[in-house]
Symmetry: C2
Subunit: 473 residues, 2 copies
């Protein structure tokens, strides 16, 4: 169990914070577009100035490495500015207009327009593996603030100092840009009761969660017990299958295997898009393939995991896989208690098809190489896959036929489909979709990363018969 140096919020604090978020909702949502944009710009400015400090704190708490954290910090700043622009141009309102027909028979058609409104206070529960980009000032917070929703973030116990530091920046920006106090708050909480209370609070209008399947499912259950239902968005675990078609393996075997192992070990496999299953045909799996795989694994550097909790979970999952499957390749032993070493296991298509315990995410640098005896078995695997964030296809010059069968099946199972590539991190932008059918997320129609992340936090309203286009205010 990780312990942060912060005292847990009390249930009274949770209530007060959400009451205060709700009380300022109207005021905050009616701030001028440029004022809310300025607020977000201020946050980005402060983060930019404090970049070295925040990276240092995050490194102490997460061991993700300074290079990665610097990259993540840049991305976070970029995301906040993206949403500052969105707040400024008000594209999020998605205005549509319909001319009236006063002389229509049998009834006149009224003039109407429709535009989005913010939904209300948003609760944000960030991820353990992105202390900056999916945390206190990540897409969830920035997109909610951009459209006028007050935000209450629960600090992640794995990087509570980083959370507090980021919240302090937001609080300064809040004052500088003259925003109501309740529009942003941070609550600490190691006890799951805090998250539960935030999700069930009557003033919470929407929840954005990024984390494990177990955590997401438990909070989803709690959200279902609410009298007043609210959208509950969880981005959870994912296996992210990669289908390596025979001609691709033959033509580009070496580089593909290196990319695969690199993707498995990227940030110690602690990525929601880590390829957890690499499916190839029996004929592709020869001695050369195995030797290349083992070499690629041995060329990788073992990396530290986020914290002891994450490491213990990974060990539990590794012990299970080691007991059940053949270990094909493994990087050197863990040096200390928090290092996650790469492990590639072999499984038959039948095992993978019949055992759901092999189709669950192992959070860390482990992956299964699934051997399909035939094209048909490969197709069966695609059909049996549950929802995933990503699915990939490696397609060579003579794989077109199998690819054209696999493609629509895979498409129906994932939020992002990659052609001849392994799932890297997500690039936040207009065309980003970081979501996927259950159990990858609770609602595949929305994304937790990218410009359209705001769509979770708005609802349309139709205005009819108004004297002018903007109503009375």
């Amino acid at each position: 169990m990780i312990h942060s140096s912060f005292v847990d919020a009390t249930l009274e604090m949770v209530d007060q914070t959400l009451q205060s978020a709700n009380s300022c909702f109207l005021e905050f949502s009616k701030k001028k577009a440029k004022e809310r944009a300025h607020f977000l710009d201020c946050i980005a400015d402060h983060l930019e100035k404090q970049q070295p400090v925040v990276i240092e704190i995050a490194e102490q708490e997460t061991k993700l490495g300074l290079v990665r954290l610097a990259g993540e910090c840049s991305r976070t700043i970029q995301q906040i500015r993206l949403f500052a622009d969105l707040a400024r141009n008000e594209d999020w309102r998605e205005l549509s207009f319909e001319k009236g027909e006063p002389h229509r028979v049998p009834l006149p058609k009224p003039e109407m327009w429709k535009e989005n409104q913010p939904i209300g206070p948003v609760v944000v529960l960030g991820a353990c593996n992105f202390p900056l980009a999916i945390s206190v000032v990540g897409t969830d917070t920035a997109s909610a603030l951009a459209v006028g929703c007050p935000v209450v973030v629960k600090s992640h116990p794995g990087h509570a100092q980083t959370c507090q530091f980021l919240a302090d920046l937001v609080n300064v920006a809040k004052e500088e840009s003259n925003m109501p106090d309740g529009c942003f708050s941070l609550l600490h909480g190691e006890n799951h009761e805090i998250s539960a209370a935030m999700v069930s609070h009557p003033k919470t209008a929407c929840v954005a969660f990024t984390g494990s399947f177990v955590g997401g499912k438990a909070l989803s259950q709690i959200s279902k017990s609410r009298t007043k239902p609210i959208p509950f968005h969880a981005e959870m675990g994912s296996v992210n299958p990669v289908f390596g078609l025979p001609s691709a393996i033959k033509e580009k075997g070496d580089s593909l295997i290196n990319s695969y192992v690199g993707a498995v070990n990227l940030f110690c496999g602690q990525m929601c898009t880590k390829p957890g299953a690499f499916i190839i045909l029996k004929d592709s799996f020869d001695e050369i393939f195995l030797a290349r795989l083992q070499e690629a694994v041995s060329n990788q550097k073992n990396l530290p995991m986020l914290n002891t909790d994450v490491h213990q979970n990974f060990e539990r999952s590794s012990n299970f896989l080691r007991r059940e499957l053949e270990l094909l390749a493994e990087s050197g032993d863990a040096i200390d208690g928090q290092i996650g070493n790469i492990q590639i296991y072999k499984a038959s298509a039948q095992d993978f098809l019949n055992r759901s315990d092999l189709r669950t995410e192992s959070f860390g640098p482990a992956s299964l190489l699934i051997i399909a005896r035939t094209d048909l078995e490969m197709i069966e695997i695609a059909k049996a896959m549950e929802g995933n964030l990503t699915g990939s296809m490696l397609v060579g010059s003579r794989d077109q036929k199998l690819a054209s069968i696999l493609f629509p099946i895979l498409e129906s199972k994932v939020g992002r489909i990659l052609w001849n590539g392994f799932p890297p991190g997500v690039t936040p932008g207009l065309a980003t979709h970081h979501g996927g059918p259950w159990p990858a997320t609770t609602d595949a129609r929305f994304t937790s990363i990218g410009l359209h992340g705001y769509k979770r936090f708005v609802r349309p309203i139709c205005k009819q018969g108004f004297p002018d286009l903007r109503g009375v205010t």
Copy 2:
């Protein structure tokens, strides 16, 4: 209890039907845009040809009147053609494209595009009060088919003959346009178990329900018990408050009161947007107002209700109101067991604020006139309102100040806001939003009527690194 002449579907039939909807999902979703558009056009053509017959059958079952049913049939045809166009132009894909940056540091940015995919088999549970426009071939069905989702409709026991007749038309259109059999089915069911089985079926990807709060809530509970969560969209009851500001009443009292009473009695008050509460100030409520109200009520014609079930529920609700409140105006006695007579009750703001049983919909031609003693009390009422489909403001030349306070409050509670008008039926189009915060609907971010109804049935998918913009298929 209404009895249709059809035998209930068995649970095996429910299972087979949804399995078959799911089996054809891929084939149906991959039909060319113009093919699916043609399918919808065929449905519209057949409905157009059979208009006199379908209106006659619907009249026998619902007593809504030939004029109203003819209007509803035109609207239904128009809606289907709207979605035929949508299927044809594929605007529902909402394509967004992002250029790659192959030389970006530290990592290249991949080329990506995002477009919508159909979500899977959709279960449609239509309304009792719109046997054509919110039924077998209403917005739910037409928008789902347009984007490539197979549809399974449960017939409404109140107009099962109409449902079967409409389904027969769709089945002919299905054959003519060479669509897979499973892409559309109708199941009969008086027993609630049938609906429950349809909502809980593992192959159901989304549910669209229009009906009572009690029914919607019960099915929503069932949907929550699913292992795999799916979007459950219910459009339920609504009080649709109208705020009559003092100067408006003074200036246009006569016509406003007539419009109010007309809206209360429109189709015997069996409209989801019937104004169930008219809030005015104490000073507006003088002898002239009361006399005008009584005259307006006596000028109305009593209408038959949809069926004996609906009438019995209305009687129960009237008996309650009669016991609890002062009856201000009532149209002549009911002539036979199925006539709903207009009833306007008086309630104090305090009663309305303190008693949630007065803030629930009475489905039929009853409405409460709420007397607020002060501006502040009127504002309190607006603040205390729960979610509604519509909210209206009647604003006169000297009401600007009160209106500007009420407006943002009302806006945060409704899906559609009307300025100087009573909520009529909905005009389906681009700017239509027929939704609203709980308890009006289960998810205020979506609409059950209008072009954007399709948004319930699509999810985005991001494609990365593809050789051409349309993938391999």
